[in-house]
């Protein structure tokens, strides 16, 4: 519901390194709030200017939830770059999160 879209930062790599996320949340449910915060922090720290985040509230957008088969919230889908990755949970386990996004130091 609150599509906090961040336009790609100027001078950043609008090349192949552009990250595109969809985060499914369940309103103000604590894990959803936490996931949103964790994702934003990660993007600011690791992907400044190289990311877009679409946030979808499953209670508001039923069709999107149906389309993406969202049973669990929060669910993060990395749409780009390939391959598509689905991540459950509030994204607190940052090392796991980094590993699955193939973001290494």
């Amino acid at each position: 519901m609150t599509p906090a879209k961040k336009p790609p930062a100027k001078g950043g790599g609008s090349r192949n390194g552009q990250f595109k996320f969809i985060l499914f949340v369940a309103g103000r449910e604590p894990n959803s709030v936490l996931a949103r915060q964790n994702l934003q922090r990660l993007c600011q720290e690791r992907l400044p200017g190289r990311h877009t985040i679409e946030i979808i509230d499953v209670f508001q957008d039923l069709d999107a939830a149906l389309k993406h088969n969202i049973l669990i919230t929060p669910t993060l889908i990395k749409v780009a770059p390939e391959p598509l990755v689905t991540i459950f949970g509030n994204l607190s386990d940052s090392s796991k999160l980094m590993a699955s996004l193939q973001l290494t130091e």
Binding site: F24, A26, E29, N31, A65, I72, V85, F88, K96
Partner: protein, 594 residues
Amino acid sequence: MSEKRKKRLIGKGVVVSTQLKKVATGIHGLDTVLNGGLPAGRATLLCGGPGTGKSVLALEFLYRGALMGEPGIFITFEEGADVVRQNAATLGWDLAALERSGKLFIFEASLNRESVNTGDFDLSGLLSIIAGKSRRMKAQRLVLDALDVLLRVYRDPYREQDELYALHDWLSNLGVASIITAKMYENGHSTGHATGHYEFLHYVADCVINLEQRVQDRVTTRLLLVIKYRGSDFVRNETPFIIIDDGVKFTPLSSISLNFSPQPGTVSIGHAGMDAIMGGPLRRGSCIIVSGSAGAGKTTIACSFSRAACAHKERVLFVSFEESAASLIDCMLSPGIDLRPAVKSGGLKILSFLPESAGANVALYRILQAIDEFKPDHLVIDAVTSSLRMGAEHTAFDFAIRLVSFCKEMGITALLTAQLEGLGVADISGLNISSLADTVLALRYIDVGGEMNRMLLVIKARGRRHSNQYREFIITSQGVGIADVYVGEGGVLTGSARQEQEMKEHIAVSRRRRTIKETEAVLAVKKAVRKASDKALEAEILKKEFELETLNAEESLHLSGRETRAVLRGRELVRGPRKVKQPPAPAKKGGLQP
């Protein structure tokens, strides 16, 4: 036949309890087991091991509902939506059409197995989908199929319990009649993975149903058991069910075993003599067991009965477990029982299948279906003991009991043949069902003088004064018949020994009759002789009487002559009349003569 009774029977299935609002499942026989259906607006837990029929049962709940105009949602956590549609198609259900018309929604809720878990989460997405979709479709029914698969994502049994509990709660608030299926054995152990602690749900849920599949003697039986149903009565025993034709079929015994009353009137067993020794023709709607060893003539009696009933424009359903319809008709031509006209006129329907080809429950369902369609007055099962080939002994017993109870309820005469060696009076039916029978006929062989002959005994004829004697049971080219047997020092006599005895008896009888006739004749002659001599004597007497009369007449004439003469002589002047009677005449005469 009795449509009214049938309606009443079917009507039982949709009685809605006053305490609890229910949703009729629409599944054949299940609403009777559940005393009306599933609790409206509540979640029901349907558990069981793999392959017990949970998904099919749950899906049929939606399918039947959709056909009745109640929209439903099927959420599958295990199978793909296409697999669900394909499985349904094998039962002839066109789910796609219902989906198009908005009466059904199938949601394939599979989790991406490669997904990574990075912290705590919940099932809000699922709940959102359910709530949103329910609202849009105005759904009245909901199924969560294989919820255990979804809950595995937590990898924590206690968390699974919490989530399940919350979900159950949430569903109850949603106000949609729902079924949650989960893999679980009767004892509460889930299959496959270690976190099978769902038995706590038995306490939480308002309605808990367990499905089980048992294999006994290579025959599979599916069973449903309602473990609990808050605020409602239900069938408390295991109810067998089958998945056949167009869905799940239950034939609950408890609903059919009660309140039957005998149909008025009687029906002949097909032979007047046999009717007589049973104390009269069979009562309609009663149960008759004809028991005996192979070849004793059970089938012949059954066919003779069928033909006779059909000849009276009655309808007979003949279930043959032993031979095909064609072969049965053919075989019966030899004893002169031509079933062809009965079949042709539509009065006789022969249903033939091998018991091995189907379990007892399938057989029972097939027969009940045929009864429902054909509406017979009488049912023949040849042989009921063949049900022993359909599974364990208890299965066969159950089969027979349910069938007989159903027939009694419907007022259908049931003639069951039972193949049985010997004469075990304690268990004449071969299945321990003789107590259900109103009439029991036993056929047995007897070996006398190098012959095997058949004997018939009426073991039981409830409420009748029946014969307690063996009769010889004879099958000729003109059908069945019975003859008296001879019971003497050497035992019973049948066959040619009986014929010999009959001959002897015949001779003895005619000899006695001849003697009587002779004696009668002699007596008649003697009587005639006596009569004749009597007549002669009488004639003599008469003659003598005549003579005497003549003599007397002459005498009196003589005397009167003398008197006249005396008077003429003036005797009266001398002696008086008294002297007239004295016969002094000879003296005077003498005196005169000399």
